[in-house]
């Protein structure tokens, strides 16, 4: 799946006036607008309950906004039905979670293969891609292991490999280092950097200022569902690569 390669000037993510209210309590997001260009690595920071995960879910098409529009890679995500949003996710989005969310009764390879199998990709190609990813992420020797036996850092690498399987236009990560110790956290940070260097657009939600500082080309801070601050990061983007794209 090769998404149209948008120029750096047309935003990959275009969020306008988005509002999200749950059944009770104050709105989780209030008239939030945000654009993210292809190739950016955006870190979303903010205190607990500020709406970071909510924003991520809207971008991933896992939930629908109460108002406003969400456009990703030219797709109006807020209008997608269940089936269409599933297709959108498997073709254009890769997701990484705090608690890995690997399927425990599948091997590492089978976990990584899942997205390709869901789109019905060719067997040989998919296996080659999985092997390549595992190799690239340094977990090839665990290819036939079960997730339960891996360390947290290794599991998160598997999750990242799975997320990259279909060459997504956008990689979403919610607290990717949240469940990891310092050393493993550093590994993942490096991995994200590498991927972004290779041209992968990344949106990551985190509490981890070190992670944001090291990886983000731009940082957005949410407070009570609004963007409180939008600052360019310290890192600069670099050229494309063979693996991510």
């Amino acid at each position: 799946m090769t998404p149209s390669a948008p120029s750096i000037t047309t935003p990959l993510i275009d969020i306008r006036e988005v509002r999200k209210e749950y059944d009770d309590g104050p709105p989780a997001l209030v008239d939030l607008s945000l654009t993210v260009a292809a190739g950016e690595a955006l870190a979303v920071l903010g205190p607990s309950g500020s709406g970071k995960s909510t924003l991520l879910n809207l971008i991933a098409g896992l939930d629908r906004p109460t108002g406003g529009t969400v456009t990703v890679d030219g797709v109006r995500v807020d209008r997608l039905g269940e089936t269409a949003s599933a297709r959108y996710r498997r073709e254009r989005i890769g997701m990484v979670f705090q608690f890995f969310n690997l399927l425990d009764d599948l091997t590492v390879t089978d976990n990584v293969l899942l997205p390709a199998q869901l789109v019905g990709a060719g067997r040989l190609q998919a296996r080659a891609r999985a092997a390549e990813l595992l190799e690239h992420l340094g977990i090839a020797r665990h290819a036939q292991a079960y997730p339960g036996r891996l360390s947290g850092g290794e599991r998160q690498r598997v999750a990242v490999a799975r997320a990259l399987m279909n060459r997504p236009a956008l990689l979403l990560a919610d607290e990717p280092t949240g469940a990891l110790d310092t050393a493993s956290g550093a590994e993942v940070r490096e991995l994200i950097n590498e991927l972004n260097d290779e041209g992968q657009t990344i949106l990551l939600v985190t509490h981890d200022l070190a992670l944001a500082g090291a990886c983000a080309t731009r940082t957005v801070e949410l407070v009570d569902g609004r963007i409180a601050r939008d600052t360019p990061g310290t890192r600069r983007t670099r050229g494309g690569s063979a693996v991510a794209r």
Partner: protein, 819 residues
């Protein structure tokens, strides 16, 4: 409220789906078990139960009114060992003509034994009203509820009976149907009516019914009978019927049903137990992580165990109560069917079943809940807490790996591997579906075989037209053809009830019979006759065989109208015979053996060349060429002719002209009626109801398991959906999981059902005194087997469909938050 109580209440209230599933499951299991148990109990000794309930008469004696006065007869109630007596009731025997209500053909029935009886109750032989009401005055008649009421129980109510053979042609209206357990009469009228039903100058006759202190054996009954006979003038007791005779008949009838009812009942019970086990232990296992939390908070393992058992028992008790109500409701039609079959069943479920079943189910629930609860409580807290995150370490991995390699869409592959993640539960579900499939397969085979047997039995009355040469003494219409298929399977043994086999005189022509040769010539001369042969029905004796044997002698070419054969072949000439299984058993003979027919001081040897499908006469029937008898100097004169019409002949016209030609000879022609044995009808109906029940229980069992599974895997489902699994793919995955269990279950269940069929049918047939032709047993062929195997898949898929839609609709964001 204690901390523990709070935990239980929260557990029941918060986990609504699981609680609902538990209520539903217990309800269903209790319903099915009550229905199954009720039927099994109703099928054990129904006669004895009915006999006790109705204070049945041990002896029904008849007295000649000219020899003994009613006073003398009444005094027999004081004979030694009589504990209760009813009567004397004046009795009359008369042949009614039915004046048809809407739609039914008018016709003359066999002679009825009618007793004049004011009261349905009394000290002995209390009558149970089946439908309508008891007599309120003259002009009314209550009929004995028969086992041949295919038209429905109410069909006869309101029918007018007239008695053309009696002076003034009395008319009576049927107001009700009642049942006497000892079959002491065919009908009842008020005593004042009897005089009008007795022909001028006819013998007054009385019936007296007795209960004795000791009546367990025929010997005791004989002594009791002698004591009664001694109390009236010698020779005035004209006959007496022991309840043991009727009991044997009913028990034989019941024995035909018991094997398949037991088969279904046991299937239903095991199914219920399995499903309760799956659901309860599944619900508790799902709570393992919560158990860890509770223990972390300081609950002891014992407290945890109690909390979880209580959590299971509260909804189970509610379900059990609902199940008792529903079970009794479902049992009403089932017991009614059983009643039609045995003629002696209580219409309600035995009270102790209503107590035993729910109690047993609750014990089962406690046991099923306790084991996993204690196991969870015994886990170290850390482990229990970890269960939610990394469950089922190592389980089903090989399956997942294999399924991942299969060339099928990934959703299907995941579905195929699904059952292996919970092997115990999947195995139980599998067993439940397999039992269901076995039940359906068995029911299909049963119905198909029985319909073939029915066709075979109908073959025993061949040809489109039957001609009878017998005249009734009252000048009325002919009696029933002696071997109509319909009555043969269930033939009632009512004492002296006009339906006894015609032609009890040994070997020779009957008084009042038309000349068979002339009748034969008339049939042959009739245009439209293609073929015909005559048959005579007589009692005969064979050397080494106790009791009389029904002997059917064929005159003419019978090769076009043979019985269905079980083994060997139809006779091809004199000296050969085809027999029923009962005869072979009684004679200790096999096909190919030779037996000796004895009569009138002569004897002749007959070789058995075949065994035929015969359910009447306990299978003690011998069919042979009439020349076998004439060669031995015995006479055989046909009392019935079976006629096959030429193609294109209109039967109605043919009958009219033939009847006109036969009228002066004193013979009558009638259309052959394809009988439908009430036994077959009743078995079909019951098998149908029971199969439906099994299917529903199986389907709901699958539903509840899949609901549990889906809820447990909601987190995994969320992950898959986040990775882009579409709702349809999710549904496909869930349905595949269940469907594949169903498919494999079908592969085992269908052969099991076939094996059950192969075992149970011969037992049922044995009880009916026959064997079943192999062709009637071979009902499973490739297409049928394929369809039945698919049934398991279908039931499982249907059960999974609803939870699959739920799974597909699970909100991903919510699912991912679930731990």
């Amino acid at each position: 409220m204690s901390a523990l109580g709070r935990v239980v209440r929260a557990g029941v209230a918060r986990r609504r789906v699981q609680t609902l599933v538990m209520v539903l499951t217990t309800m269903l299991s209790v319903t099915a078990s009550i229905a199954a148990g009720g039927l099994i109990v109703a099928s054990t000794d129904p006669f004895d139960h009915a006999f006790a309930r109705q204070h049945g008469a041990h002896l029904a004696a008849r007295f000649d009114g000219r020899e003994a006065s009613p006073g003398q007869i009444a005094a027999t109630a004081h004979a030694a060992s009589v504990t209760a007596a009813a009567g004397p009731f004046a009795v009359a025997s008369a042949s009614p003509r039915f004046e048809a209500p809407a739609g039914l053909p008018a016709g003359t029935g066999p002679a009825l034994d009618i007793a004049g009886r004011a009261d349905a109750g009394g000290p002995a032989d209390r009558l149970e009203l089946v439908t309508g009401h008891w007599l309120t005055g003259p002009g009314q008649i209550v009929l004995a509820a028969g086992d041949g009421d295919e038209a429905g129980p109410d069909a006869l109510i309101g029918t007018r009976l007239s008695f053309p053979g009696l002076p003034g042609t009395p008319r009576l209206t049927v107001v009700g149907e009642a049942r006497s357990v000892g079959r002491t009469a065919d009908a009842w009228v008020v005593p004042a009516q009897i005089a009008a039903l007795t022909p001028a100058g006819g013998t007054p006759s009385y019936e007296m019914l007795y209960r004795f202190a000791h009546a367990g054996s025929s010997a005791q009954i004989s002594r009791d009978r002698a004591a009664v006979a001694a109390a009236v003038p010698a020779g005035s007791m004209s006959g007496a019927q022991s309840y043991l005779t009727v009991r044997a008949e009913v028990n034989r009838q019941t024995a035909t049903f018991v094997p398949f009812i037991l088969a279904f009942g046991v299937l239903g019970l095991v199914l219920s137990v399995l499903i309760i086990g799956i659901v309860v232990s599944g619900a508790v296992t799902a709570g393992t992580r919560r158990i860890g939390v509770l223990k972390a908070l300081g609950l002891t393992p014992a407290q945890v165990g109690r909390a979880y058992v209580a959590q299971a028992v509260v909804p189970a008790a509610a379900g059990a109560l609902l199940g008792v109500a529903l079970g009794n409701l479902v049992s009403v039609p089932l017991l009614h069917q059983a009643d039609t079959a045995y003629g002696a069943v209580s219409p309600v479920v035995a009270w102790w079943i209503d107590l035993l079943v729910p109690a047993g189910m609750l014990v089962l629930v406690v046991a099923s809940a306790l084991a996993p609860a204690l196991r969870a409580a015994g886990l170290r807290t850390v482990q229990a807490l970890a269960v939610g995150r990394t469950p089922r370490a190592g389980r089903g991995r090989t399956a997942a790996r294999v399924a991942g390699r299969l060339p099928v869409p990934r959703a299907v592959g995941l579905g195929l591997a699904g059952p292996f993640a919970r092997p115990a539960r999947s195995a139980t579900t599998w067993a439940a579906v397999a039992l269901g499939a076995a039940g359906v397969t068995f029911a299909f085979g049963l119905a198909t075989s029985l319909n073939r047997v029915q066709d075979g039995l109908n073959q025993n009355t061949p040809g489109q037209v039957q001609v009878t040469t017998l005249r009734r003494p009252d000048g009325g219409a002919p009696p029933n053809p002696p071997a109509t298929a319909g009555s043969s399977a269930t033939g009632s043994a009512a004492p002296g009830s006009g339906t006894a086999t015609a032609g009890t005189a040994t070997g020779n022509g009957h008084p009042g019979q038309a000349d068979p040769a002339a009748v034969g010539r008339a049939i042959a001369a009739q245009p439209g006759t293609r073929a015909y042969f005559g048959t005579s029905f007589d009692q005969a004796h064979f050397a080494g065989v106790a009791g009389a044997v029904q002997l059917v002698a064929y005159q003419g070419d019978s090769s076009w109208g043979t019985y269905q054969m079980v083994g060997g072949h139809w006779f091809t000439g004199p000296g050969q015979a085809v027999v029923g299984h009962g005869f072979l058993t009684a004679a200790g003979a096999r096909v190919g053996d030779t037996v000796t027919l004895v009569g009138d001081g002569r004897s002749t040897r007959v070789r058995i060349v075949g065994e035929a499908l015969i359910t009447g006469d306990d299978g003690k029937r011998v069919l042979t060429d009439a020349r076998t008898l004439t060669a031995a100097g015995l006479r055989a004169s046909p009392d019935t002719f079976s006629v096959e019409l030429a193609d294109g002949t209109d039967r109605a016209t043919y009958l009219k002209t033939l009847d006109a030609a036969l009228e002066p000879l004193g013979a009558q022609a009638g259309a052959t009626v394809g009988g439908l044995s009430s036994t077959v009808v009743a078995i079909d109906a019951m098998a149908g109801s029971l199969t439906l029940l099994l299917i529903v229980v199986t389907g709901l069992g699958v539903l509840t398991t899949v609901v549990l599974d889906t809820r447990e895997r909601v987190h995994d489902l969320g992950v898959l959906k986040a990775l882009g699994m579409a709702p349809r793919q999710t549904a496909v995955m869930v349905v595949t999981s269940a469907g594949w269990i169903g498919a494999v279950a079908g592969l085992v269940g269908v052969p099991a059902g076939m094996a059950l069929h192969a075992r149970v049918l011969p037992v049922m047939a044995g009880a009916a005194g026959t064997r079943i032709p192999r062709a009637d047993l071979a009902v499973y062929h490739a297409p049928q087997i394929a369809c039945l195997a698919l049934a398991g898949l279908l039931v499982a898929t249907a059960g999974a469909l609803l939870p699959a839609t739920w799974a597909a609709r699970t909100r991903t964001a919510t699912a991912l938050r679930t731990e």
